[in-house]
């Protein structure tokens, strides 16, 4: 299990429909909040980017655009970080089965890079099975001291 902190300030807690509009809006909200808590511009961009990729996974691969399924989106801050939880209602995801996008034979693949980019853009990224069988991801980006 991760050492993600318990959030003490929930800023957004919503259930979003499985649409690309939800991807856009969650990315924008995460980026805006990241800027508001004082993250440098590039870091805020990376938070927004990571949220976008995680939301795409939840909506496209998890919920498969189903109108009957929602994505739980929780954006919070702790004393030292901004934290985002994204949980879909799909059938689960096994990251260990993903091909390595950096392997030479996969460089020309059209897809499969999202999680790798998320990992490089945030300080901590956890993928786990949700209680109901879907996939829950939590990502965390540190707020620089003195911000």
């Amino acid at each position: 299990m991760s050492n993600l902190e318990n959030p003490n300030n929930v800023i957004v807690d919503e259930y979003l429909e499985s649409s690309l509009d939800s991807v856009d809006s969650s990315e924008e909200r995460a980026k805006t909040v990241a800027e508001q808590v004082g993250l440098p511009e590039d870091d805020a961009y990376q938070v927004g980017y990571a949220v976008r990729e995680a939301m795409v996974n939840a909506i496209v691969h998890g919920n498969r655009y189903s109108a009957n399924k929602r994505v739980h989106f929780v954006l919070s801050r702790t004393e030292s970080s901004i934290q985002v939880l994204i949980e879909d209602e799909g059938t689960g995801f096994q990251p260990e089965r993903q091909a390595d996008p950096l392997a030479e034979e996969n460089l020309l693949s059209q897809s499969g890079r999202g999680i790798m980019i998320i990992r490089s853009f945030v300080d901590e990224f956890v993928i786990e099975k949700a209680e109901h069988g879907g996939t829950r991801v939590v990502l965390r980006k540190s707020i620089p001291p003195g911000t």
Partner: protein
């Protein structure tokens, strides 16, 4: 804003000036359709100018790769021009810098095809 693509011909090289965001959905499909259209029409030297592309997600990156493959399979070459720092960083992270030829000078990019 989704992506806007403007095509111009410089000698035998087709330059695509892209602007906006290349992301899952409309942006990606616009780009994909444009590349397919060019190769169908026999354009084999393609220089993609990304100077005005403000954002590209992993789906958009996938479309760049797909475009590269499509043009290569048709016997041509797709090269990149004027990457922003963020797109440059994404190509580094994904190791695609080893795949694409990248230029920051249009004249040099054009000359590289000959």
């Amino acid at each position: 804003m989704s992506v806007k693509l403007t095509t111009r011909q410089v000698g035998d090289v087709t330059v695509i000036d892209a602007a906006g965001r290349i992301t899952l959905g409309e942006g990606s499909s616009t780009f994909r359709d444009s590349i397919k259209d060019l190769t169908t029409k026999g354009h084999k030297k393609v220089l993609l100018n990304l100077a005005e592309v403000s954002y590209i997600d992993s789906s958009g990156i996938g479309e760049l790769v797909s475009g590269f493959t499509t043009v290569s399979n048709a016997g041509g070459n797709l090269k990149l021009l004027n990457l922003t720092k963020r797109i440059h960083d994404l190509l580094q992270i994904t190791k695609l810098y080893t795949i694409f030829e990248v230029f920051d000078d249009e004249a040099k990019g054009l000359a590289s095809f000959n």
